[in-house]
Each structure stands twice: as C-alpha cells, then as structure tokens.
C-alpha cells in the first residue's frame, strides 16, 4: 500500500514462514470464529450499536496492518479509537504494501495475530474480495453508489489526487508536470516508490501521462516522461521519506496530495513544503476498506468500521489531508471540519478516476516498459 517495506531478508522471512508453518503448534481456535459478530453484516444484526460496542470491548483488541502513523492521519485515528472504546489497537508493519496485508492474512489465518481489517489499494482489493466479510456501517447509505460494493463487501474510505510536493525554498514553483524537465530540477524529482510495485508511484506515472498528452487509457506518455526526466538527470531514484524531505535530499516528491499536505504540516517552520495538483492532470483514487473474513476480533473489526465512517473518523482523515468518502453528505449536513476542508489543495480540471480495465491495461504496459525506460 505504501512505500515498500524494507525489512531485510523479506524473502527469507516469506520462505521460512512457509516452512515454520508446517511445524507450528496446533492452532488456537481464535476467539472470534463462531461468534455472532463474525457474521454480522451491520450493527443491527447484533442488536444495535451498544451491543456491538460491548462485544468489541469484550474482545479488547484490534489488529490493524500497514497503517503508517503519518499516512492520512492514521496515528491519531488509532489513538482516538483506542481511547474512545478502551480497545488495544495492535498496529503491525506500518510500512507494508497492500499485497503484504493479504499475505499476512493468509499466513496468520486462524491465529489471534491475524489482521482484523484491511486498507487496500483497489487492485489488490479487487483480486481478494473472497477474503472480505460484508459489513454496512450506520452511515452506509450516505456513501455514493460508485464508491462501494452493493453488498457492503468493500467500501471506499478516503482518497486524494496525485500531486507534486516541492520545497519552495529550494526549487521554483512548477506550474505543471512538464516543468519538472527544466534544468532547475536537476537531480531533485523523486517518485514515491517503484511504479511496478507501489500503487502511489503507479498513479504518479499515470498523472505524468495525463499531463503529457496521455489519457486514462494510455500510460505510455507518462513512461516516456520519466524516461526524459531520467535522461535530463532530473529523476532521483531515491525513495522519499519524511527524513529525506526534511534533510533536503528529495526537494520534489510526486505522491498523493494528502501525503504531501501532511508533510507540509509536519515541517511547518522548518521548510516551506507546498503541494500542487497539476491543472488538467488530476488523477484521483480511493483506497478500499474491508473487514477480514477470518478476523480474530470480529466485533472490534466492525466497530472500527463504524468509527471510521462516523463523522469523527471521517474528519480525522480530513485532518490528515485525505478526502473522506462521505465528504459531500457531511458538507450538506454541516458536520464537516470546514477549516480542514478549505485547506485541501485546489483542484483545477476534471478529476480522472481510472476504471479497472484501464488500470489493468496501464499496468501491463508499465510492467513491460518501466525498467527499460529508466534502466
């Protein structure tokens, strides 16, 4: 989901895990399976919100995975949930990718350490629908139909637009994607991850394509753009992190706007980090939220959903610069955090959301051509 985990020996871990699984002790029947919560598709199935809260408190724990504290304000969200309900949140592998979340669910199946809930990029979510338990939160009706599965198997949770974050003290303000090819940006432009591996980086190439005459159907101009960027010596093959931004190693970072905005908030007073959503290259994408079918804490998992989709949870995402899925409904109802909403980067042009078919096509092209372009 996010920057690739850099755990040393990931490969070893994967293979040895498969090995040790065969000799692990008999699996403990996890507390969750077989309880009413495990099949509940809404709070009403359990007898209402209070009953759900009580069941979740009884479980006492919630396992989340791949949620970096500085990503869409997850640090604060996890803390708020824990304080509000007195439930201990175990946050595993904050830097893992979406695929890592699914791998963990497969490998830990039946153990009480398995992830309860997922926050996935849409590609991984679509490929793993069979692993989700349908659940509709109290505010489910307010979520636009295009952004949820009709049975509640998965629901979009928050999204954003691809953006260019830059250190205004180090580089001139770019007006669009093409500007990044100028000599002023030599050795300064970084992409958040490898686009053949990380969803954010893939979207970055797609945005570059939209800004270079491509379309949602055609990522090739984006790949060509990065080939040119590399040739000009402007492309920086460094994985940007808050540390590289702060130390000035990555003065320009192509990433989701909520991550760039959060970066700017964090570095306020140290450096002037600005976020630009390039005009007419507005690529949007939502992440997907789902409950694991094999959740060891089924009630807590469902309560977590209720919390995320409540006004409180949605506003916490918004505070992190992400656009929550209920934003429109909350604006109408007047429950949205107006200040945070106004602070989001300006969007100029029609946002493009790729269909699954378009994404698949783009990925095939990317897998075949990316290494060549920047090799």
């Amino acid at each position: 989901m996010r920057t690739l985990a850099r755990t040393a020996a990931a490969l070893v871990a994967v293979t040895t895990f498969a090995g040790t699984a065969a000799c692990s002790p008999p699996e403990k029947e996890s507390a969750g399976s077989g309880t009413a919560a495990a099949t509940a598709t809404s709070a009403a199935d359990l007898g209402g919100m209070d009953a759900l809260v009580a069941a979740a408190k009884k479980e006492g724990e919630l396992n989340v995975i791949a949620l970096p504290p500085d990503w869409a304000n997850y640090g604060e969200i996890i803390k708020a949930f824990g304080t509000k309900y007195g439930i201990k949140v175990n946050s595993a592998q904050p830097d893992a990718s979406s695929q890592d979340e699914i791998n963990a669910a497969d490998q830990l199946k039946g153990q009480d350490k398995a992830p309860d809930v997922f926050d996935l990029g849409s590609a991984v979510a679509t490929a793993n629908v069979a692993k989700f338990a349908p659940y509709k939160t109290a505010t489910w009706a307010e979520i636009p139909d295009a952004l949820k599965d009709a049975n509640g198997t998965w629901t979009n949770d928050y999204g954003g637009y691809m953006s260019i974050g830059y250190d205004a003290g180090k580089v001139p303000a770019p007006s669009g994607v093409a500007d990044l090819l100028k000599p002023e940006y030599k050795g300064k432009v970084a992409l958040n991850g490898d686009p053949t591996q990380a969803g954010a980086a893939f979207a970055g190439v797609m945005m570059a394509s939209l800004g270079s005459g491509g379309s949602a159907d055609d990522i090739a101009p984006g790949v060509d753009f990065f080939a040119k960027l590399k040739k000009a010596g402007n492309f920086l093959p460094v994985d940007p992190t808050p540390a590289t931004v702060e130390s000035g190693q990555t003065p320009v970072v192509i990433d989701w706007d909520y991550l760039n905005v959060a970066q700017g908030t964090k570095l306020k007073g140290k450096l002037d980090w600005k976020t630009l959503v390039p005009a007419n290259a507005v690529l949007g994408s939502f992440y997907v939220q789902a409950v694991s079918k094999d959740a060891p804490h089924p009630a807590a998992a469902r309560l977590w959903q209720e919390f995320l989709y409540s006004d409180e949870g949605q506003n916490l995402w918004l505070k992190g610069g992400a656009r929550p899925v209920r934003a429109d409904a909350m604006q109408k109802a007047g429950t949205i955090d107006a200040a945070a909403f106004a602070a989001l980067p300006k969007v100029d042009g029609t946002p493009v959301f790729q269909t699954e078919a378009q994404t698949t096509k783009a990925k095939e092209y990317l897998a075949a051509n990316w290494a060549k372009a920047i090799g």
């Binding site: 040393a8 020996a9 040895t16 090995g19 040790t20 000799c23 990925k363």
Partner: protein
C-alpha cells in the same frame, strides 16, 4: 548475506554407530530442516505450481527479457565485485603474510576483516548513504570546499555502480579471511629452493607459487561471487527504482501491489538463483579439494 561452508569429506564408516551419538545432531538437523531444506522445497515446489497444479509457465517466464536482463546484471555485478575484491583482498592478504605472524598489524587487520566481511545489509547501505549520499558529510564537504560534485553525472550511488562500490566494501575483507590460510601454506623453503636452483622472483611466482595458489585464489573468488550474488538487504536498502538485480526482482514479485499474482514467478527466479549458486559452489568445492592436496 549467505555464508557458505564447504562440506568436509564424509568420515570413514565406523563399524558400529551408537544411536546415542546421533542424538547430539538432532538440534542441528532440525535447524537445517527448518531454515534450509523446507524453504528450498517451498521454492522448488512453488516454481512449478500454478492455479491448476503443475505448470511450466513460471519457469518459462524466466525467459522474459526483463528477467534475463536482471540475471545478466546480477551475474555481472557479482563477477565484477568478486574480481575486484579477490585482487585487492589477495594483495592485502599477502601484505599480512609478510608481516610478523603474531604481530599487531596482522592481528588488527584479520580482526577487522572478520567484522567487515559480515558488515553487510541495511547498516552498510546507510553507512554509505550517510557518508557519500546526497547529503552525506563527504559529499557536502567536497561540494562546499573543493567544488567537486560527486553526482554531476547522475545519482549513481542508488544504481548499479553504487551497488558495485558497496559490495566491494565487504568483498575485500571476506577475501582476506578465506585466502589467508592458503598464503600461510606457502613455505619459505620453496622460495629458497627456487633461488638456490637459479630461479628468479618472476619464475618463482609464475612456476611455483602461482600454480599452487591458483586453485585457492579461484575458489575464493567463486565464494565471493556467490556471496555477492545472494546479497539482498544491501541492495534493497539502496535501490528503490527499477529492481536491477534478481533478488530485487524477487522482492517485487512477492510484494508488488501493482502487478499481482507473481508469487510463483518469484519462486521460479529464486530457483534460478539456487541453480547458479549450486554451480558456483560445486566449482568452489572442487577447487578447495585441489588446494587441500598442496597446502593442507
């Protein structure tokens, strides 16, 4: 970092093996089973596993251009760093042999080599980033005081040239450790014999010491090759774009959230690596045997 140990020859069969003496090896065998045999089996089985059972498609996919390129780059990187490491390491080892056997120089350098040969992975990568990275202190010093821009031609530290530099850093001390015993086996009497028979220094090196040391030198170089070929963490910490070498391609296949369902292709690539290392280690063992005959 894989460490490789050569297998000693099997001991001569004893008339009767007591079951009690086998008990002592159980923990070791269990360890080897869990961390070596089972993972290897997982890789081999996975490489031929598809949705509907047995398939050749994963192994066939190794013929894809980008995978072949990665293998070629992996082999080139390992060969170059093994060659540089072997030459520099051999020269350093020779300098040590000429020093006093129990002297401080030799003790210090062998101890340091022992540490540095194992100093790979993430720590080493970050040590380089902190030193000659984009805002590393050497980079900044050169730029501000001497006007030298290390990265005028591109950010090579995070690409293959950078990997070659960082790998060489742990190859040289490893060479010192594995090559020193062979040099110690060279007896001064041989040199005296050469000289008393009227041979020159050149002839001594080309006709006596060279041929004696060649198997050990080549064997050590092969060990260095395998060491670099299987290194993963160093590269993973340095390279975040483009997966130039096979271990990084495997990482991509296992964790990519963009191109899905490549887990078994990753295992097929791992199988390819196992084959390459197996060939190299077989050569190493054969050369070791030759060395043992002369310098044992």
């Amino acid at each position: 970092m894989a460490t490789v140990s050569d297998r000693p020859d099997p001991p001569a069969a004893k008339p009767r093996v007591r079951a009690g003496s086998l008990l002592g090896t159980v923990p070791f065998l269990a360890y080897v089973a869990v961390f070596l045999i089972i993972p290897t089996l997982v890789v081999v089985v996975g490489a031929f596993a598809g949705d509907g059972g047995f398939t050749w498609s994963n192994v066939a996919a190794l013929g894809e251009g980008y995978i072949l390129d990665a293998f070629a780059r992996s082999v080139a990187l390992s060969a170059v760093t093994a060659a540089i490491g072997a030459v520099l390491g051999a020269v350093l080892a020779y300098a040590l042999v000429t020093a006093r056997p129990g002297g401080p120089l030799r003790r210090v350098v062998t101890a340091a080599s022992g540490v540095l040969a194992q100093f790979g992975g993430v720590t080493l990568a970050f040590a380089f980033i902190a030193t000659i990275g984009l805002s590393g202190f050497v980079t900044v010093f050169l730029r501000d005081h001497l006007g030298i821009d290390l990265y005028a031609g591109g950010v090579w530290l995070f690409e293959l040239p950078g990997l070659a530099l960082v790998y060489t850093y742990f190859q040289v001390p490893l060479m010192v450790i594995v090559f020193l015993p062979a040099l110690d086996g060279i007896r001064p009497q041989w040199r005296e014999a050469t000289e008393s028979l009227g041979g020159s220094t050149w002839q001594y090196w080309t006709r006596v010491a060279g041929p004696l040391l060649a198997p050990a030198f080549l064997g050590s170089a092969l060990l260095l090759f395998a060491n670099a070929f299987s290194a993963y963490a160093t590269a993973a910490a340095l390279v975040s774009q483009g997966n130039p070498i096979v271990p990084l391609q495997i990482r991509g296949a296992l964790t990519s959230e963009v191109v899905l369902g490549q887990q078994n292709l990753g295992k097929a690539m791992a199988l390819g690596m196992v084959v390459v290392v197996a060939v190299v280690m077989t050569g190493y063992t054969l050369l070791q045997r030759r060395t043992a005959r002369w310098l044992g």
